[in-house]
Symmetry: D3
Subunit: 327 residues, 6 copies
Amino acid sequence: MSTIHRKVSEIARDIAEMKIRGAGNIARHAAQALVTTARNSKAKKPSDLLADLESATKLLLRTRPTAVSLPNSIRYVMSRAHTGHEQHLKLKALRKLIIDTGNTFIQNSAQAVGQIGEIGARRIEDGDSIMTHCNSAAATAIFTTAFKQGKSFNVFVCETRPRYQGRITAQELSQAGIPTSLIVDSAAHSFMTKMDKAIVGADTIAANGAVVNKIGTSMVALAAHESRVLFFVAAETYKFSPETMLGQLVHIEERDTSEVISNKERTAMPHLIVRNPAFDITPPHHIDLIITEKGIISPQAAITIIQQEFGSTRTDELMKYQTKPRD
Amino acid sequence: MSTIHRKVSEIARDIAEMKIRGAGNIARHAAQALVTTARNSKAKKPSDLLADLESATKLLLRTRPTAVSLPNSIRYVMSRAHTGHEQHLKLKALRKLIIDTGNTFIQNSAQAVGQIGEIGARRIEDGDSIMTHCNSAAATAIFTTAFKQGKSFNVFVCETRPRYQGRITAQELSQAGIPTSLIVDSAAHSFMTKMDKAIVGADTIAANGAVVNKIGTSMVALAAHESRVLFFVAAETYKFSPETMLGQLVHIEERDTSEVISNKERTAMPHLIVRNPAFDITPPHHIDLIITEKGIISPQAAITIIQQEFGSTRTDELMKYQTKPRD
Amino acid sequence: MSTIHRKVSEIARDIAEMKIRGAGNIARHAAQALVTTARNSKAKKPSDLLADLESATKLLLRTRPTAVSLPNSIRYVMSRAHTGHEQHLKLKALRKLIIDTGNTFIQNSAQAVGQIGEIGARRIEDGDSIMTHCNSAAATAIFTTAFKQGKSFNVFVCETRPRYQGRITAQELSQAGIPTSLIVDSAAHSFMTKMDKAIVGADTIAANGAVVNKIGTSMVALAAHESRVLFFVAAETYKFSPETMLGQLVHIEERDTSEVISNKERTAMPHLIVRNPAFDITPPHHIDLIITEKGIISPQAAITIIQQEFGSTRTDELMKYQTKPRD
Amino acid sequence: MSTIHRKVSEIARDIAEMKIRGAGNIARHAAQALVTTARNSKAKKPSDLLADLESATKLLLRTRPTAVSLPNSIRYVMSRAHTGHEQHLKLKALRKLIIDTGNTFIQNSAQAVGQIGEIGARRIEDGDSIMTHCNSAAATAIFTTAFKQGKSFNVFVCETRPRYQGRITAQELSQAGIPTSLIVDSAAHSFMTKMDKAIVGADTIAANGAVVNKIGTSMVALAAHESRVLFFVAAETYKFSPETMLGQLVHIEERDTSEVISNKERTAMPHLIVRNPAFDITPPHHIDLIITEKGIISPQAAITIIQQEFGSTRTDELMKYQTKPRD
Amino acid sequence: MSTIHRKVSEIARDIAEMKIRGAGNIARHAAQALVTTARNSKAKKPSDLLADLESATKLLLRTRPTAVSLPNSIRYVMSRAHTGHEQHLKLKALRKLIIDTGNTFIQNSAQAVGQIGEIGARRIEDGDSIMTHCNSAAATAIFTTAFKQGKSFNVFVCETRPRYQGRITAQELSQAGIPTSLIVDSAAHSFMTKMDKAIVGADTIAANGAVVNKIGTSMVALAAHESRVLFFVAAETYKFSPETMLGQLVHIEERDTSEVISNKERTAMPHLIVRNPAFDITPPHHIDLIITEKGIISPQAAITIIQQEFGSTRTDELMKYQTKPRD
Amino acid sequence: MSTIHRKVSEIARDIAEMKIRGAGNIARHAAQALVTTARNSKAKKPSDLLADLESATKLLLRTRPTAVSLPNSIRYVMSRAHTGHEQHLKLKALRKLIIDTGNTFIQNSAQAVGQIGEIGARRIEDGDSIMTHCNSAAATAIFTTAFKQGKSFNVFVCETRPRYQGRITAQELSQAGIPTSLIVDSAAHSFMTKMDKAIVGADTIAANGAVVNKIGTSMVALAAHESRVLFFVAAETYKFSPETMLGQLVHIEERDTSEVISNKERTAMPHLIVRNPAFDITPPHHIDLIITEKGIISPQAAITIIQQEFGSTRTDELMKYQTKPRD
């Protein structure tokens, strides 16, 4: 039987207590926990080393039930570890493979936003008007990279009710010197006819290329599609959800109603229900391209990313490495 | 030469000073001014009576440059007056025609919202979920009429940023006992797939059936169209714009930017422009029906309403009775 | 007080007892009843004559609650009678107007199918493949007229489950010598790509141009639209429903489930519900043209037919002359 | 020269004489024949073993000219056998590879319907109304799996003229306790607006994601697409056709016309042709997802399945292992 | 019996011999011929006057078999003449009515292009890029009127193979000082995404709003529709075809093949056919507006123009006043 | 340090001086240059051999800045060379791998057009009418292969202004005996409704399946899409652009304006600009299939080709092997 290394337990606890936050950051710490486990394992044979890793993954998968990046980092490492084991790697070689793989994931993940910025910036042309919604590090990286390259363009930002994350984007872009316009969300369709592109981030990407992102994203995508404006999604590969390949639906959380209307104001409305879903789903046929750090793909090719990154041809493992409710 | 009756001058002044407000109310007072003019005219022959009326119209058309209902009430009366004159009506008969016509317009206009409520309520069925946007007396009349008839349905109301008129609608409907849900505007597309219909009001309707209404309306219409949900516009006939038949474009006003973001918050955003158009334009092919007090029409048949109500086959008169900037 | 002429009572009874059948036939007999009433009325003044006619209409409207042609024949006559009365026609002239109007309606109605055949046949070209559905006298008239003119074309007939009316059409056309193919309904989309046109009849046409017709019609229309094949509806003007202008919905009857599956076979299916609607609704944007005896119109111009034929600018009368449940 | 093992000849004969039936069953027996060949081969060197297998494949490919699953099972085994040979596997290792590969295919194939049931059931949600067409083991597995999981939903089944396979589905589902509605095929569009999803099986899937299935499937897909209802195809991977990658068209058979109308009834219809294609083709842009036992894919990613399962990057082999007319 | 006035015979001959050319010019001369006939008629009673006019129309209708404007001018006058006769006008009044009506048509027609220029120019906005095709007086009038009003815009002109009429337009606009770009026809779709509007003329407009115009027009319309660019047709009312209401199809002429490729160059191409249709048909759903001198209409409202201008509710007369082959 | 073999320098010079022309030919010579380099390299260890090859690639990539096939042939060889090096191949084995790989590319490339002809010909059916545009060896191969197989079909060729390459195609096809029709480009939409398919070639294919080809291609594709006609692109795999995966846009060159209108004729047009882009971009959703020598793919699966052929999962190498401006 394996014992969990103290450092791994600490990482798991910090993720659970939200001391480690942010999709990329969580993913990198989980990979680090596997590297640490491999490095410190007292296993005498390959199967024992794998058993130690499996123990670590169980602990990690219980920390944060809804994160998509955490199981993906584990799948990235474990699918390669299992393949190595099946190829009869000896203990030392298997340990090295796991450590190298974990470090590769950590490095790739840390560079992902920057690379998306580089790749996406190539698609921005002088004179472009571009709409965005909510606040996405990857989308912002594209804008700032292109701006630093001297390209001349302007961005329309939807305010993103109910929590106004669009204002954060507007501040970031405008302080970077990019000409920026702020509009209410429902004006997106009106202004879309004057846009050349729309670029947003993603929370989760399903196997068929559907994108789960902040409420309103699907409406911006619909307006772009209707106005024949290119719609790009900027997303790190660890946001692709292998579970969806096996039918799993992405859960859409509803947030507190006071974000929409104050409880006080509601007292005058006896039969009123307030609905406040945090996300919506943009179907693949309203998306022109997904920009990842591995390159640009059609949304319909999302499955290619999932298979290449997370070894998802091994469908049995896909369901094993899912997040679980905590004990 | 004619002199303007004192009562007419008062009406014109009250319209100009916004003591008389609301599209229907303005239209009825303008018609009343023509009735008063006809009644008090000292004209000795038909052409003099018409001259007196023309003087009154000139005064009225200068009071409120952007109202669509005001010139329509004048066109309603004057197109019939001119036809009567061409048919060689004698002074007495012409005077009677004008007074009767003015009173008919006043009566029709006063009953319009109620009749739209009756007609539109027939389209609501038990079990319907219906989306609405902003705050429209005609749309609300449909909901409350159907509810009083015992129909069981619920309404989703978009909050209608930036001024939240949707909250007023939510309050009206919920206080009337109708099950009502409030959502942010950008959630309209997400919830649309669960709707059976969408019903909104109108500010102005163009000759080709395009509808000018509160910002966000065209986005709700687009979402309804995409989700194959019926989209109805409830509008009194005096909101149809005969000028658009002759090419005139409907002007879309931009309102104060502080409605979108406080000036204080903007100080941190050096390159930020705020765009705040009050209205948007919904194209006819995204509208299934327009519900008027004269019955239900396809948007493409808008020209039929314009011709029947405002005598617009007389294209010369269409341009004569336009609102003008005040002296 | 008026008394109903014996002949009128007989007509009403024969309609109620379905001795008089078929949309056109019912309409003509109702018009005849009004002519008879006008001819035999003992009225001494115009208003009494109208009162006699109103009594007759009440009797007629109670005979067949769902017919669309019956109230239309009454509206055709009565809207013109009321207009005549408002123009102060004397008794004799009014009586003549009513008799002439009734006879005109009867004559037009009797010739309608033939004229539709003439007009529609002009749209058939040598080499055409044309799909049809169910069994419609007007559609068949188009095919046989064109064939008699020597045009060379072939017709694909959907069998029209559950009652196989398509087989009747197939028999009529094939016996007339027209090359005819019979297919199951669900093959309509497969063969549509090889068609040049699709032509069907109508049960009722709504004010916005939507067409109520035999179940499956909307699917043929959808397939035609998807395959960019022209879709024509052949319909006599008395099938246009003025009530729909005022919001009335067309009721879709569900027929006996044994038409779909025998009761015996159903006994093996414990949780089975059988749904058997007789009609469906084809939206106007899937219809290219409606061919009436008054000419070809866009479906969006349906309101023009309603206003010209049934005087529907008089919205008060529209609702008065509706069919009512029998006493 | 190789000789065919007696057991292989028996399998080939049983397939040809339809004693072995059903796409999956045929495929598994063909794979078994290759395993048997490998096990009993008297080959002295790897190339001789391959020669024995090639002889067996020739025999098998001549048994059933139109089956898609039979050549696929052969391709599955032979593409891996050839790769092994190219990697210079020794005789023993190659034999083992072939036996293991054949057994893997047999096992995967036997579990495929069950796994599709598991994966597809995750997509069914409480309250769903779902349409289906014809009778598909894979689609039925999804419904019954979801129902056993306690999900509450109902299914609308199209009767599927001309052979009414929909009644079989209706009986299976309703006897399983699932609330089931039966409709005529042409009512699919009418009821589609009330559906949340549509799920059907497949006969063959082309390289571009087009689906060949029972006549009427493409019409249900079109109606689902028009009504913005999700359309899923449930299909085992051995139904994907590698030949289509190289341009081969899928042949659509026409069945006996007496299925559509009895020969007796036809005697009255001199110029009548009856068309009775057994299948139709649903284009990929009308399909949202294909549910395979390997997971869910976009139809546009069908080529990924073909390449992974049948080694289709080896285009020369694709055409070699095609079914051929029997000697 | 009536005799044709010498002046009428001269007009007919000049039209036939193409001394009188151009749609508007022909129409005005035909109306003038009727005025002349009415003025010089020796008729003693109204029916004789009408008989004289009918003789003149027969002569005129035989002069130019394919002109749409010629029968329209006749219908304009004759439908009003017949209505006057039915209203029992006396000889003198009827004669005056005919003369006045003819002169009104002549005056309206002469001013039509100018008025279309005025109306259409209101739709051009500063900064617009507008595409046009072929050479149309009405479209050019819109551009030059807007330019004289000081509006700043530019026009993209398709060269309009095979006869390069676009070069004439390019010359007219560029010589007027309007910034003009010339492109090959097949580049229309590429540049359309940068356009705000497209404006073309018309040869004939059908009752359902379909527009027959120079080959390539339907492709520009399709590209505009796809790119969500507004597509306007500028057309005088006498180009609307009442015959199409009664099913008549518009004949599309094929012109000499040497316009496409020289006969010499063709000699090297043994199996080559050259197809050279002069016109194509743009369907109404690809047209946003039709700009006539009577105002702007939806294409679906084309029937309204036909009925108001040419009295087409009198369907019997529609077919009577068709052009006929010359004796 | 490496020295470039004389033969490699000659190849580079011949490419630069356009003695070596044509996408396939250039690609094959570049691969040959690498084979030559590998064969003649004096390297003592694998890394030196790779260094020699890198020197050769640098020279080759500077010869022709806009060719897409040249860097692809280099990527084909070099991605496999690097993989071999990473797998610790010894010098001899690595040299062999490079030579074999280069020769494989040369062979595949030389056979590509023929194989596309074979594959594409399977999609042509008796009775087909097929449209094509410009002049493409791959598309022509499909037509002539199918014709030699005895298939009966005809081809419509757009003349392809401004340089009339369609006439070359018309001559090739008609001289081969295929019934061929020539039309002006703007007639493509008119005739498309009579077509069964459209097949064109490609200049470059982007990672998302968008196709860059001769101006007018996107318009033919749009017309095919609108008319529900299948649109196929025939393209060798070396025309797929891996750079586009990393965001690179394909540059669209504008050619001399005198191709559109002679400079002399332009002198009369003072404000005229002539725009003459050589290519346009067809979006993937207007393309049904891409026919490559490796088989048929959905455009959305373009990335699969890129990854399999050019090792593009190695994104760092993708950008390294780009064409560069010459020293």
